[in-house]
Structure formats: structure tokens, C-alpha cells
Subunit: 412 residues, 2 copies
């Protein structure tokens, strides 16, 4: 398959790597022998090579030496200190509105419940049918238990949810609108500012799922007037498998909203061991159990790298990567009958590109054997995730070419 | 203060250490310079010295090299494999009933909600007023949202909740009884078998909080016919600050009960990305979000040590430690007017001993300066936690003697 096109594109990839101002960061991650192209950093980000040393220090000095005293010294504040930092560097959130803890699913439950419980007069939750399963399932469960109905927005998967669709769906009956900022399949970016304003016009709250945005796309929560947001840290924040999630609650709602899982860490005075629960009057009231401190270490290391690179520069590299991916797909994969399942306009495209073909399921094993690891999303999508700080243009060329070759093999 | 009594007791401690069949394990933990007596392993267990190397291996090989493929290879099963192992080695639970995930608070919420939602005809939750704050707060929150009432058992703190009190409290109106197996203040062990049977006689479910039992006291969940149990892993399982919790749901209830936080990891077919939520028909239905794999590593290492020692031998050392602690208190602290706030009968005492004095709050800083670290529980209790695998008799002697000396100093 060494036709001239391939040689040209491989040379272009090398050139892009040489010109990439963030290229130096790609060497900071653990090397994976046998993996020639990792295109799934948006499912599980790679670990930093420096991380084991950080765990060693943490275990020896913070946990092992300070022991229980460390809770007072720094761990009690950690979910909020780290949250504020993520808020400042990545989310456009002023301090005191963001924390780290729980799983995305649990945070979705707590914040959506907080929103609908505060609006007992309203009967509907609005969500789109292309939202991630856990978002839809949480909403389905809450609707069932609170006797609410769900108004589904039927999304064109390739372009994602549009502001006019939200305008059509919301009404004075809407308690909360639950949407993903970047669609998990197509990578389509929703218009956060316009949609939030649309929901607010009818007095509804908006919750944004930021799982595919945090760490790769600059987000402006305060500026957009967002009420609630939730995201995960194991994708572009490289927090490790099952690392804790991130929640944002706009400061204007702290005294209004209450979440249903009352625990000691959300109480006004944690160690008073009082008889009755009295929630803290700030962001802490959205916290329930003991914060997962140890599980925050990896995302904290990655956040340092992200801050060193800067989120704008990361977005620029992300755009260059998705642009090049599209070019590679045009050369290697689309001619075989595959179709682009992501927005064509890069301004509304996140950091992954999805391509569809009915035979893609049949080539996954072969790709893995070759050390090419994209993601597969049922029924027929290969999702090419491009994590800017760890991904080289060269590995994208190698990976997309392999997808083309293996597709050609099964079509023969 | 080097009176003969001290010399005798220090010598006795050294002798007990020499005779201790588990003594070799005490050297396996990270050394803490300046800490001469750590008596708070039941708040935060110490890290194993081998743990950083384990994280290095995990980061390099499992996470860093297998990357996303590791989910299929082992991580998806991990919460249940580790849960089953904890079930078998520590909880007397047959496979398929235990998993690791979420925080204790979130698990309490999910399981208590599952119980009360399945009993819409019943109007009460029974709980004792000495239960840990988070347990009480979760119950308070659930009662508020579900329109249930709480029937409080008023416990004599020193002896803990008694079966006859539960018999008096429960009725045909009781949906669920929520109790701690070992009381967090006094260490009193509740009669799990008798109380569970008492609750079952009126058709109520029972949830046991095992936070102060797991890893230190043999528990027999299946044998006692327990319905639900929850516990944490950062105490005697040394899982690290904020490590995930453990849940048990009796197999007979898997199809009956549903929990309210519907997420993709609890769905019958996780990667089908289906339109509607259909819960798994086994223990997985109690899981919500992505499992906290990385955060399970430390407890897994400790579990190996616990299994090597054996839970019966651990309980025997725990008894020897609490017995010696009582002897030390008699010599150094009780003569100064402090009182024992734990059961006198060691058969119903867990692995910590609490002693009370109105001036204890005033000596904490001094104790910490001396490297003596017990726990303090408001208003006046010093809790001496004895984690058998990491605690020497010598450090207990040093610690309790320091408590006596510092109390004497403030009373002067």
C-alpha cells in the first residue's frame, strides 16, 4: 500500500510534528510498547511518566508521614482548591463554584435533582436523544421517581443539538435542560451561550455535561451564565481509570438549591457531629461523602502540564489535529465508502472525529493487533480521539492509514 | 514520670511485641519520622511501603501500555472481583453480592433508597442516635424526600444499641433499620445476628454500616441473613484518603430492589448505548458511574496482607491490643479522672477504645507535637484506634503514657 499519497502524508505528518509548538509535551507520557497509534485519549488519557514519582512522594510524605493530620493541613480543602484551579484554567469559572468528587453519574443525579426539586411547579426535563447514555439514564430515573416527563430533542447526530431545537422544546413547564457541550459520538460543539440564554428566557435551569470539553476546549461557564455543569477527569485530564468527576454550580444558586444526598462533608460544620443536617451555605453543600483525595493526584499532575501549555494553544493544536485527520480520512478511508459523522465545520467540532462504516466492527481486532487503538461506538462509528498534549501527527497518520488498510482488507 | 509502673508497662509492651505472631507485619508500612505512636489507623490506615512500586507497575503496564484495552481485560470486572474477595476473606459473603465503588455516603443513599422505595406501604426508618453523622444525615434526607418518619433508638453510648431496643422500635411500619456494626465512638459491637432476625420478624430490611468492622472483625453477612451493608476502605483496609466504599446486597434482593441513580455501568448491556435504561439483573444494578479503578489499588495491596495474616489472627491481636490499652489507661489516665467510654467486655468491643475527659480537647496540640496521634471525637473523647497489622504494643504504651502525662500537665 506504499502509494505516493501515503508517502506524502507521512512526510506532511513529520513536518507538522516539527512545526508543532506543543510537540515537546508528547514525550512526557508513559511509553506503550507495541502501540503505534493511540487514538482513544478521549476515553482514557495516557499517564504521565512522572506520575509514579508523584505517588511515591504523596504516599511517603503526605499520607505516610502526616497521616490523619493531612486532612486539616490540606485534604479538606483539596476538592475546592483543585476545583477552583480547573475552573480558572479551563472552565471560565470564578472561585467557589467548582469541586472535584464522586462520579459523573452521581454528580448528574445530585445536580439535576437539585434543579428539579427546586421547581416543584415545573413538570418537564428537556434532553436530547444523542446525549450520552448515563445522562439519559439519570434523567429517566429522576423523571420516574419525581413524576416528571421528559421532552426529547431529536438531534441530527452529525451536527448536534441546535439552539432553535432547544427554543422549540422548552416552555414554562421546563425545570431543567440537560445537554452535552461536545457530543460524545460526533464531537459537535453545542452553542452554550445561545442555548443557555434560550433556556433562561423561560426560566429553566441548564446543566451542561463537559466530559468531552474539559481540558481541550476553552469553556466560559460564568460568561454564558450557566447554572450547572458536570464533567469527567479521565479523558483530557488524564486522571486515570475511574478518576473523580468535576461539578460546577453557579454561585447565585448556592443558597437556592439543595441536593438529595446529605452527608457529613456537606454539613455546615463537618466535625460538630450534630444531631440534624444543616447544609453548608456554599459549594460544599453539593458534596456528600469523604472526598477521593488519592484519586485526584493524576489529574492534578496533568493540570500542571495543561496550564504550562495553555488551553488556547491546546485548542489550536486540537484543530490542527482534527483538520489533518479529516485530510487523512479523505485520502485513506472515505474513498472506501465510509462517511464522516462529525461536523464539517471545525469551529463547531471538538477534539475527536467520527467516521462511519457498516464493516468497522469487523476490523477492530485487527487494528488492536497492529497497535492502532481508536474507539468504537455502536453501531458503526470509529471515533478518532485526539488528545493534543499526548498525540503526534505522525501517529494519527499511522492510525488512519491502518483503518483504511484494514477496511480495504475486509471489503476485498 | 519514670516511675516503676511505667518501666514495668514498657517492658510488658516489648514482651508482647516479641510474642506477637503478627509483629512482622508492622514493619511493612511507610515509616513516619517523628511519629512515635499512631493511634488513628481507624480513621486513616497507614500506607504500605510497597505501594509506590505497585502504582509504578500499574501506571506503566496496565494503564500506560494496555490503555483503554484494560477495561475489557480486567477493569470492568474489578469492582466485583475485588468485592468478592473482600466478601470471602472478611465479610462472610458468597460471591456476586459485594462491590467496590462510590463513597460510603453515596452507597448508603442508594441502598437505603432501594429499600424504602420497595416498601411504599411502610412509613418508617429506624436508626440509632449514636450512629455516624453521615448515616443519620442520609436517613434524614431520604425521610424528608420520601415523606417517611424516623424512629430514633436512644442508645447508651458506652454499650451501644441492644437487640431489645430494636425489638421495641420496629413494627409493621418499618421499611428499613440502619445501624452500625461497630459504634464509631465507643467501639461497641452490635449483635448483628439477633438484631437482623428481630427486624426480619416484622418484615423490615436491615442495613449495616461496617466502616469500623471491615478488615478487623470477622463479619458473617450471609450467615446472619443481612440484607444490605456498606463500609469504607480507608480505615482498616488502608485504601488511602477518600478511597472508595464497599457495598453488599444479599443475592435474594437483586431482582427486587432498584436504586435511584441510574447510570451506564448499572445497565444490563453497558455498551449497547440503548435508548432506555434497563438495569442489570445482578449486583451490577447497584452500580452507577465509571468504577474508580485507580483508587482501588491501595486497598487491594492491604487485602493481600490481611489475607496472609488471616482475619481470625487479626481479631486476636486486636483483642490483645485493646486489652493492653485498657490496662495502660488504668495505670496512666483513669486515675486522673478520665472515664472509659467503651464497653468493658472485650467480646463486644471493636478495635478502638475511647476514653473521656472534659480537658482532652486542650491536650491534642501537645500530643501531636510529641508525635502521638490519637483521634478526638467531640465533645470530650479521645479514641485510641488499634490497627492490628500496623500497630505495636510499644507504640500503644508510648501513646497512652503521653496522654496521661499531658492530661496531668493541664490539670496541674
Amino acid at each position: 500500500m506504499a502509494h505516493p499519497e501515503h508517502l506524502d502524508l507521512a512526510a506532511r505528518a513529520a513536518e507538522l510534528d516539527r512545526a508543532d509548538p506543543l510537540h515537546r509535551f508528547t514525550g512526557r507520557f508513559v511509553r506503550a510498547p507495541g502501540v503505534v497509534s493511540y487514538l482513544d485519549g478521549n476515553s482514557l488519557g495516557r499517564p504521565l511518566a512522572s506520575f509514579p514519582a508523584r505517588v511515591h512522594d504523596f504516599t511517603t510524605y503526605e499520607w505516610g508521614t502526616r497521616l490523619i493530620r493531612r486532612w486539616d493541613e490540606s485534604w479538606m480543602a483539596k476538592p475546592y482548591v483543585l476545583g477552583d484551579r480547573i475552573g480558572r484554567s479551563l472552565l471560565g469559572a470564578a472561585p467557589g463554584q467548582t469541586f472535584v468528587g464522586d462520579s459523573t453519574t452521581v454528580l448528574l443525579y445530585k445536580l439535576i435533582r437539585a434543579a428539579v426539586d427546586h421547581r416543584p411547579d415545573r413538570t418537564e426535563i428537556v434532553i436530547d436523544d444523542d446525549n450520552f447514555p448515563t445522562d439519559r439514564f439519570v434523567v429517566e430515573g429522576i423523571a420516574a421517581e419525581r413524576g416528571l416527563s421528559i421532552r426529547w430533542i431529536h438531534t441530527d447526530r452529525t451536527i448536534g443539538v441546535q439552539p432553535h431545537q432547544v427554543a422549540d422544546a422548552v416552555s414554562e413547564q421546563t425545570a431543567v435542560v440537560v445537554l452535552s457541550h461536545v457530543a460524545y459520538r460526533s464531537g459537535a460543539i453545542a452553542d452554550m451561550a445561545a442555548i443557555t440564554a434560550t433556556a433562561h428566557r423561560v426560566g429553566a435551569y441548564v446543566l451542561w455535561d463537559l466530559c468531552h470539553s474539559i481540558g481541550v476546549i476553552p469553556v466560559r461557564l460564568d460568561e454564558c451564565g450557566v447554572d450547572l455543569a458536570v464533567g469527567c477527569s479521565y479523558k483530557y485530564l488524564n486522571g486515570g481509570p475511574g478518576s473523580p468527576a468535576i461539578a460546577y454550580v453557579n454561585a447565585s444558586l448556592h443558597r437556592e438549591l439543595r441536593q438529595p444526598i446529605w452527608g457529613w462533608m456537606g454539613a455546615a460544620d463537618v466535625f460538630a457531629m450534630k444531631d440534624a443536617y444543616e447544609p453548608a451555605d456554599d459549594i460544599r453543600r453539593f458534596v456528600s461523602g469523604t472526598p477521593p483525595i488519592f484519586a485526584m493526584l493524576a489529574m492534578e499532575s496533568m493540570l500542571e502540564l495543561i496550564e504550562a501549555a495553555g488551553i488556547q494553544a491546546i485548542r489550536e493544536k486540537s484543530l490542527a489535529l482534527t483538520r489533518f485527520t479529516e485530510e487523512l480520512l479523505q485520502a485513506y478511508v472515505l474513498p472506501l465508502g465510509a462517511t464522516l459523522a462529525s461536523p464539517a465545520d471545525e469551529r463547531v467540532r471538538g477534539s475527536h472525529v467520527t467516521v462511519a462504516h457498516p464493516r468497522f466492527r469487523d476490523i477492530l481486532d485487527r487494528l488492536w493487533e497492529r497497535g492502532v487503538i481508536p474507539d468504537f461506538r455502536a453501531p458503526d462509528g470509529i471515533r478518532i480521539g485526539l488528545s493534543p498534549l499526548s498525540t503526534t501527527f505522525t501517529e494519527v497518520e499511522v492510525g488512519v492509514r491502518a483503518i483504511g488498510e484494514e477496511l480495504q482488507n475486509v471489503l476485498r
